[in-house]
Amino acid sequence: MPPKATLFLGVFVGALCAAEPINYSRQIRPILSENCIACHGPDEKGRKGKLRLDDEQDAKRDRKGDFVILPGKPEQSELIKRLESKDPEEVMPPPKQHKTIPAAQVALLKEWIKQGAPWGRHWSYEPVVRPSVPQNGETNPVDAFLAERQKKEGLTWSAEAPQAILIRRIALDITGLPPTPEETAKLAAAQHEDIVAYFLAKPAYGEHWARQWLDLARYADSAGYPSDPGRIIWAYRDWVIKALNKNEPFDQFVIDQMAGDLLPAPTEDQIIATAFHRNTMTQNEGGTSDEEFRVAAVIDRVNTTYAVFMGTTMACAQCHTHKYDPITNAEYFQSFAFLNQSADSDKKDEVPLYEIYPPGVKAQREQWMKDSAAAEATFKKPEPAWTAGFDEWLAKGPKLTDKPLKAALDAPKDKRTKAQTKLLSDYYVRNVSPAAKAERVRADDLKKKIAAAAPVTVPVMQDLPAAQRRKTFIQLRGNWQALGDEVTEGVPTHLARWDDSFPKNRLGLARWIVSRDNPLTARVTMNRLWETVFGVGIVRTSEEFGSQGDLPLHPELLDWLADEFVASGWDTKKMLSLLLNSRAYRQSSASNAKLNEVDPDNRFVARGPRFRPSGELLRDQALAVSGLLSAKMYGAPVRPMRPNLGLSIAFGGTGDWMTSSGEDRHRRSVYTETRRSTPYPSFVTFDAPNRETCVIRRGRSNTPLQAFVTLNDPVFVETSQALARRLLKEGGATDDSRLRLAYALCLSREPDANELRTLKTLLSKSVAQYRADNALALQMATEPLGPTDKGADVPTLAAWTAVSSVIMNLDEFLMRR
């Protein structure tokens, strides 16, 4: 069977060769899982014929002289008989399921039974065992494994890509920004390793890689559900950027986010990190039950925890025991129990909140608050001198708007109550009395200072005190009101052993996730890293490592990476460097007819990776080459230009926003305000999720609507205009020199003669058109960027804007090659 077909099936049927022992995990289990396990698997309620094909004992047991699987005897095994039966009542899978198992797979099952039907577990639940690195002359173990596989497939390495292309590839992969022409020149003769190290040291690395993590963390600046009000939680986003730049070891990165607050003497950063699980949605719609949506948030936390760290779909087990993987309904709620003790409860104010102050400010502000309270108290017990002039003031009939005050003032003097008089006199002292002026100024000043030093808040995880701990019950069929048996904290131990030294709380859960015994975390994380760098994961379904996911294409390589990752001390930057320094990565991305035929997705990596990056990166890149990009890091989210759609959010405010001013219009995309109900339109067009729930893998579509964005979205029109101005200012005096600069900025290479010719033809046509119509030229050159420099040649600028837009829409610009 040709490799593409095995790839396609996601099942390693392999050649039928009696001499080669059949591997249960890789060859047999996928067939059973695809076709049989839903009815003959772990789910007790859905189980048919009292048969489990996922359980060796049950599948092989004696059924009154009959055997479903009789090792060594395929012809006496009911499994084979049923698969080959022509009787619609007998045949498996039942006809109404519209599944048939191909003859080649049945033959494989027969051969496996003949070999004694050796059992095993699903591959990803087996412990990671460090495989030995093939000795084939490759120095980087990544290449050694790949070369072995390529040899089997009759493939071989492509040539190395030109240095300038590699510099751009590395810069985009590490920082999400293109290299400047200065950087490309400076690094032209540098060693590959040094280029990687150079870009890894830039803070832009954290900003770029945070975007991916924020998809996993379902980070947004709004609370979700219909009304979708704003939420202040950006300190978490900044924490992610900083943690990545610090290269916090991945195990610590997990522990901080899952349970930083439960660590002994947690740092401020560790508390902020727990906002990871406060990125769940909060329901503010009237008439809804806080408890229902608190439960929904906890369920989201369970599902997110397992999906992000362990590539495991827990959602199935919320309603019933998992049909394919060994996770029971009870185990689901045992995991739920870990996350069911946090104090948050779907409240509008998002409590509990943590307050963040710049260093020293907190104590100072507390002092001011004390002083302020004291000052206000003195106004209530004024010095006698302060009341001087009160009666005269009253007699003048001052204008008061406050209702009680006005009522007091309007009351005839003899009918005025004591309290009313006191109210008026207090007001006089606090706002009018000349004698109290100095004290008043001081008190007002304190108030201003207090307001100015207000903390930034962030919702955090905080466990309830012991007396208020919640009980956890199994929720029947996933209904939060239909409760079954009580359960306590626990994990699906089939996935990994629970060490009794772990505390039975979120911290223990976090330690379990990153424990040496957990076979999934390191594999899932390394697979994601691979996917990010090479375009497709070693396991294509990076979101699903369970038995319904794809099998790894290079299982040994994945295990080696997982083991190396843990051995390195969970050093993410080190592992990234390892991939980026590989021969595999350095290849030219040019393809050819043979590769397109045999390996169109480049999973054997016989050429360099090439794919379309995220919409966020495309916007950042356009801002960078045009010179508009702001270097400002961190802080409250910003609102770049976005079309007003004139639509409101159901039960909420407007879906539109006021564009930020100044450099905030041009910050990196990671700082763009993320609204769940109205995600930033151009990012969505390029497959960005709305961050309502965690998304492990984005699609990579290629649609005409994307062309509209990069051609017509004012954000991209503005960058074309800015690039045009830059080319005229910095690009020398000739069209050729300007086009050279454009290519250096956008593509990190020289244009060839043909490219120059095509673009100059367009340029002269455009110049002619804009010379003939000045008003049109003015629009093209200035809307929305704004007025040109005095004395600028507007038609020329307009024409260069059109040319710049073409360069910024080149396939080569939109792809990371």
Partner: protein, 485 residues
């Protein structure tokens, strides 16, 4: 069902691999034949995920116009006539209906509320309709009323998501996405799945109502607007002429072609094609969205006014879009949440006013399609995400405005064309409208039926994601054969 794009995604494989692999998956023989003939026929459009495709079996409907009234129209004041409820008006709601239940805005014991509206039977089928819908009355012979609809959700967002994606939370592909995923579309110069919104507020379920979830985003609904850019960013920037746009795209094509020659990537070919499609859409979309050249009589029939943003305009646009080959048009109209918190939400005057802007264009749309011979293979669905309670809403019970709370157990959906019977009512609720008693239809059944009318077995139109074959009907759904002509 194995989708060509899904194949392409799995491993941009060649035609030969595709055919051999289809054999290994167990597609029904007919469907397999249809797919081969269509996806790899003379058009050789196999790499275009939106190329028209044949369904599992012969379809009654080729396209759908779904008219969604966001908020939940009061079924008891429009279609579901309950004399017994009128008789027991203002009595305490019997405990048996309240036990163990939660309502969105009602607690304690509410008062029953008979409809203040006048009901009569219309058309050959004797369809019950109230005075709120004078124009629906006139098309009674063209429609089926499904009167014992029910859902699992009593809040807007989850109920809308359940109705349109088969699941109450975000993340699944919408009905229109499934339809275009299965069928492609007939006009490559227009989006295959279009949504439009009237009355200024998007539905509670948000963009998820027309999102593509985990299936490729080419299948998501493209939001079109009758004011401003008809499609986001479709208009050239100020200062760009059509002539120059063509010149820039020619230059771009030329340069991209060279990139393709150098690197040999199929995706570059696709990109070139998508820019060309974008260029064509820049003409075709504004053209189809411009209703100013419609006959005055047509505009009058719908109550449409060029340049406005209204439900009437959207109904007319829906006809123009399906006429041009768009597969699925989904309209969302805001303002159907008749709680009684203000006069607009009153089931008397408020409903009359809301319906005046609704039933006329809907009737006009059905008549218009009929006249053009399009009704027989265009399915029209009109309805909300749930019904409303037979009792007065608790919060507003002391005021002058009559409102009802959300109610998931009973509501009515109106369907027309596309192989559905005319002059027919299906299903019954009990004498006070608390529960379906005969021929109940769950929202998953409605989905199964819509897919069936489009030629699909809803259990076989699937997409593999995170290790599971997902479908619109989740793990439920039965085709309602009785309403099919």
């Amino acid at each position: 069902m194995l989708h060509p794009l899904r194949e392409a995604q799995l491993s941009l494989q060649t035609r030969r691999t595709f055919l051999s692999s289809v054999g290994q998956f167990s597609l029904g023989a007919i469907a397999l034949h249809a797919m081969q003939a269509d996806a790899f026929g003379a058009s050789s459009a196999s790499d275009n995920p939106l190329a028209p495709r044949k369904p599992h079996f012969k379809a009654k409907a080729k396209r759908v116009i779904y008219l969604h009234m966001s908020g939940g129209p009061p079924n008891l004041d429009i279609f579901d006539h309950k004399p017994e409820l009128v008789k027991r008006n203002a009595q305490d709601c019997p405990d048996s209906f309240l036990k163990g239940r939660t309502f969105a805005f009602t607690s304690g014991v509410p008062k029953l509320m008979g409809s203040p509206r006048t009901f009569k039977q219309y058309g050959q089928g004797g369809l019950w309709m109230s005075d709120a819908v004078p124009n629906f009355q006139k098309i009674a012979d063209d429609v089926t009323l499904v009167k014992a609809m029910h859902t699992d959700q009593f809040n807007h967002a989850p109920a809308e998501l359940l109705l349109f994606t088969g699941h109450a939370r975000q993340g699944r592909p919408s009905m229109g996405s499934w339809a275009t995923y299965g069928l492609g579309t007939e006009n490559q110069d227009l989006p295959g799945f279009v949504t439009m919104i009237s009355n200024g507020v998007q539905p509670s379920g948000g963009q998820g109502c027309w999102g593509s979830g985990f299936i490729p985003s080419v299948f998501q609904g493209v939001q079109c607007r009758s004011k401003g850019d008809p499609v986001l960013f479709a208009n050239d920037p100020p200062g760009m002429t059509r002539d120059l746009r063509r010149a820039t795209l020619d230059a771009l094509k030329d340069l991209n072609q060279r990139q393709q020659d150098e690197l040999g990537h199929a995706e570059t070919v696709t990109r070139i094609a998508q820019y060309e499609l974008a260029f064509r859409m820049q003409t075709s979309v504004p053209e189809v969205m411009d209703i100013s050249k419609e006959k005055p009589a047509t505009l009058e029939a719908y109550g449409a006014k060029p340049g406005e943003s209204s439900f009437a305009n959207n109904c007319l646009l829906a006809r123009r879009l399906v006429e041009k080959g768009v597969r699925f048009v989904h309209l969302f109209d805001w303002g159907w949440d008749f709680h009684g918190t203000n006069p607009k939400e009153d089931i008397r005057g408020g409903l009359t006013a809301k319906m005046a802007a609704t039933d006329k264009p809907v009737a006009a749309l059905i008549n218009d399609l009929k006249e053009r011979g399009l009704l027989e293979d265009t399915l029209i669905v009109w309805g909300g995400e749930f019904g409303r309670t037979p009792f007065r809403e608790g919060r507003t019970a002391k005021g002058d405005v009559l409102g009802r709370d959300h109610y998931p157990d009973c509501f009515t959906i109106m369907m027309a064309g596309g192989g559905v019977k005319g002059g027919f009512q299906f299903g019954e609720t009990d004498e006070m409208g608390f529960a379906g008693v005969k021929d109940k239809v769950h929202v998953h059944d409605l989905q199964a039926t819509i897919l069936h009318l489009l030629g699909f077995d809803h259990e076989r139109l699937t997409y593999r994601f995170q290790g599971r074959d997902y479908r619109l009907t989740d793990v439920h759904g039965h085709v309602v054969r009785d309403i099919i002509a």
